[in-house]
């Protein structure tokens, strides 16, 4: 499989870039941040994005999607990183739809995937419980009751929590032992009795929140995948999530780099353009190389997903770690090279740093993935 884009993919990239820069530029994000409403995202914009086929980009045609593959999804996320577009794309398309695609029963797929594809259904994963990503330590309990399960516990950092229609909830259904991981995934509608959502205000001004499950009863049909065997499905979903987030971080990295490059070419000090200082040139050249490496590893990871390779966990952690490392260096350097103006809220640079930080942390940060990479490689 080639690591260059084919014609169809290049067309998608162009059209995504055109769409976002017209309909959802950074100024739209600023507007949203400065005038927060109850939704925290633009429903009309999301409907337009769905109409472009983006909400169903990875969903098979039989379930109403366009089945364009992960590379397509990655290209859209990359462009959204450039414009900081707020939408349920990460929570619902990258994660929710992937969980159903990979683990849903035929009935679940038939019921839910078409609604995702039209943009009607917001369906995030409710995963985290503590300050550090660690799904294996899940303690939210689902205990068997008559014809179903009863959930008790609290999830934090749930993306799009307060606008979600349905949650895919990670729960402990038995103790971990040699034969099973003891984890399971459940579909829980947000209006089910006992579900309470607490909206949180995050660094990147996006939607997230805590969800409390208090004696929440769901039917046996709500289980996604096998009971007690949720870990493997979850890891596959998370691998896709890592790679998608890496694509978004790639978009952020490129945008931040280009902003800095332009600034270095415009800004004069001591009578010359600051971009003529060799110390700054070398730093920019090194960052350029890093971005090229990032492009390649993200492209390759998306390729591997599309090809259904089985080593994808290793590549997913490699990509996330590499992108976290690069975007951190890049955003720090970008502020430093911009000087005072980069520190002001009037200038857009701060938005990228904030969004990058949240995306870095989502589903495991640099340290988590570097450690996981070693673990998966057996050392």
């Amino acid at each position: 499989m080639s690591l260059s884009l084919n014609e169809e993919q290049m067309m998608l990239q162009d059209s995504a870039r055109g769409f976002l820069q017209t309909k959802a530029p950074v100024s739209a994000f600023r507007e949203l941040r400065d005038h927060p409403d109850k939704d925290g995202f633009n429903r009309q914009l999301w409907a337009d994005m769905a109409a472009q086929g983006w909400a169903g980009i990875t969903i098979p045609e039989q379930f109403g999607g366009v089945d364009f593959g992960y590379t397509g999804l990655g290209l859209i996320l990359e462009e959204m990183g450039r414009t900081l577009t707020v939408s349920p794309m990460v929570s619902t398309v990258l994660m929710g739809a992937t969980a159903l695609n990979l683990g849903g029963s035929p009935a679940q797929k038939t019921a839910l995937l078409p609604k995702i594809a039209t943009g009607e259904l917001i369906i995030p994963l409710a995963l985290e419980e503590t300050r550090h990503h660690n799904p294996e330590q899940t303690s939210l309990r689902a205990t068997p009751v008559d014809k179903g399960y009863c959930l008790n516990g609290r999830k934090v950092f749930v993306l799009d929590a307060h606008v979600a229609d349905t949650f895919i909830v990670l729960a402990r259904t038995s103790e971990k032992n040699a034969n099973c991981t003891g984890l399971s995934l459940f579909l829980v509608d947000s209006d089910t009795q006992g579900v309470t959502v607490e909206r949180a205000h995050m660094l990147d001004s996006r939607n997230a929140g805590a969800v409390v499950f208090n004696d929440v009863t769901v039917s046996s049909e709500s289980v996604v995948g096998e009971i007690d065997e949720g870990q493997e499905l979850l890891q596959s979903v998370l691998d896709v999530a890592q790679i998608g987030l890496s694509a978004e971080l790639l978009g952020i990295s490129q945008q931040v780099f280009e902003m800095t490059l332009s600034y270095l070419k415009e800004r004069k000090q001591f009578g010359v353009h600051i971009g003529s200082f060799q110390a700054l040139q070398h730093r920019m050249a090194q960052m350029f190389c890093q971005i090229e490496l990032c492009k390649s590893i993200v492209r390759r990871a998306l390729n591997d997903l599309d090809a259904g390779h089985d080593n994808v966990s290793i590549v997913a952690s490699a990509a996330k770690a590499k992108l976290c490392e690069t975007v951190r260096r890049l955003t720090n350097e970008a502020i430093q090279l911009h000087g005072g103006i980069g520190m002001t809220d009037e200038f857009d640079l701060g938005f990228y740093i904030k969004r990058a930080r949240v995306a870095q942390q989502t589903c495991g940060d640099y340290n988590y993935h570097l450690d996981r990479f070693a673990r998966l490689n057996g050392y």
Binding site: R131, H201, A279, N332, I335, G339, T344, D345, L349
Partner: protein, 391 residues
């Protein structure tokens, strides 16, 4: 030695009698700080009392001469006073750019009349000063400043703008670098002026940072009339004063590197141990690396002080401290974020302590820019200490 012991005993006694109990509690909120000024807002009586008592003895400025209200203490006595204040955990009686920045300038460059007029009010916190240095567009090239002061016979007419002025909206007076000769080479047409922020034509606009609200303002000067007697030092010789102040500022900012929350303790609490090792092995390594650098840096501060005492100069100390101190401070915040994980992503709400940590992290990014960028410090070290050529 006996004299110093006596001084310590007396000081300790006086502080115990005169420092109100409230002034020995840790500083919790912004308004626990006392900045004085013409229209001061004291949080409570104790704050005002503490300022009055300390400034009456001149101990807000212990080493300044008695003649202008200072404490007139020797270096050793000042050090003892400092130690005794630390001992009882006393809050500073007064925070002031007048004390930290303008005072040293006036003592060195001011006329007798200026000293008599301005210094006593600084000692007593009666006038709050701000600094007019950077300009939009000047950045690291401070000497490229464009704010003009035209000679109009009995006064200067000032037009221009200053940026990054801390508490510009709360200050009574400003000390300011202005261009008084457009034809001269850029370093030779700069003068140092003082003026009242209530003068007609002065306006301020607050600056919001990526971390949220900030103490910074932009100042605008539109035909501001400044009496000629308010010129400090010689006309067109202000750059010398500016350099003197910059060195001073660098040292203050560089000091930030030596804060003392233990990262390893924080990590143990947030991340936990397995087999006596932090569960996150990468963080464990990063914390060790950082802590060793922090040790080496604080040893270097001590060594510089000891060597200075012994007459063995290190050279470019202030640039090195500014550069490395801010690097350390920024690393510390990066590590704090790693340690606290998702918690550090909260921006508002009690649950997240109103985003104090990520805001401080974002704010720290400015450390290597303000007070002379890291690049400027490295240039200074390369040229002045290492003697590398600039062809």
């Amino acid at each position: 030695m006996l004299e110093l012991d006596e001084f310590r005993r007396e000081t300790r006694h006086w502080l115990e009698q005169n420092c109100p109990a409230e002034m020995r509690l840790p500083i919790r909120e912004e308004d626990d700080d006392c900045w004085g000024g013409m229209y001061p807002t004291f949080k409570n009586e104790a704050q005002e009392l503490w300022l009055d008592r300390m400034s009456e003895r001149g101990w807000t400025t212990p080493a300044w001469p008695r003649s202008i209200g200072g404490g007139g203490l020797s270096k050793e006595q000042s050090e003892i006073l400092h130690q005794e204040l630390v001992r009882i955990k006393a809050r500073p009686a007064l925070l002031s750019f007048g004390i930290w920045m303008l005072g040293p300038v006036l003592l060195k460059y001011g006329s007798e009349a200026q000293k008599a007029r301005f210094l006593p009010d600084i000692v007593r916190g009666k006038v709050r000063w701000c600094q007019g240095y950077s300009e939009p567009g000047s950045g690291s090239d401070l000497a490229s400043l464009q704010t003009r002061a035209e000679d109009r016979g009995d006064h200067y007419l000032v037009n221009g703008s200053k940026i990054w002025t801390s508490y510009g909206d709360k200050a009574d007076w400003v000390f300011c670098l202005v261009r008084t000769d457009n034809a001269a080479p850029k370093h030779e047409g700069i003068s140092f002026l003082l003026f009242d922020m209530k003068s007609p034509g002065v306006t301020t606009k607050p600056i919001t940072l990526i971390s949220g609200k900030s103490p910074f303002s932009q100042l605008f000067f539109d035909d501001v009339r400044v009496p000629k007697e308010n010129l400090v030092g010689e006309i067109n010789r202000g750059w010398e004063i500016a350099k003197y102040l910059l060195t001073h500022e660098r040292e203050m900012i560089g000091d930030m590197g030596t804060q003392s929350v233990s990262l390893s303790e924080l990590a143990k609490e947030h991340i936990g141990l397995r087999n006596d090792m932090l569960v996150d092995p990468i963080l464990r390594t990063d914390i060790s690396r950082f802590t060793i650098d922090e040790m080496a840096f604080s040893d270097t501060l001590k060594r510089a002080a000891d060597e200075a005492k012994a007459g063995q100069e290190m050279g470019a100390v202030s640039s090195m401290f500014k550069y490395f101190g801010t690097e350390l401070n920024m690393s510390r915040f990066e590590l704090m974020l790693s340690v606290t994980g998702n918690y550090s992503l909260g921006w508002e709400g009690e649950e997240f302590d109103e985003g104090n940590l990520p805001r401080a992290w974002l704010r720290s990014k400015g450390n290597a820019i303000e007070g002379g960028t890291s690049e400027i410090q490295l240039n200074i070290i390369a040229k002045r200490v290492l003697g590398l050529p600039s062809e």
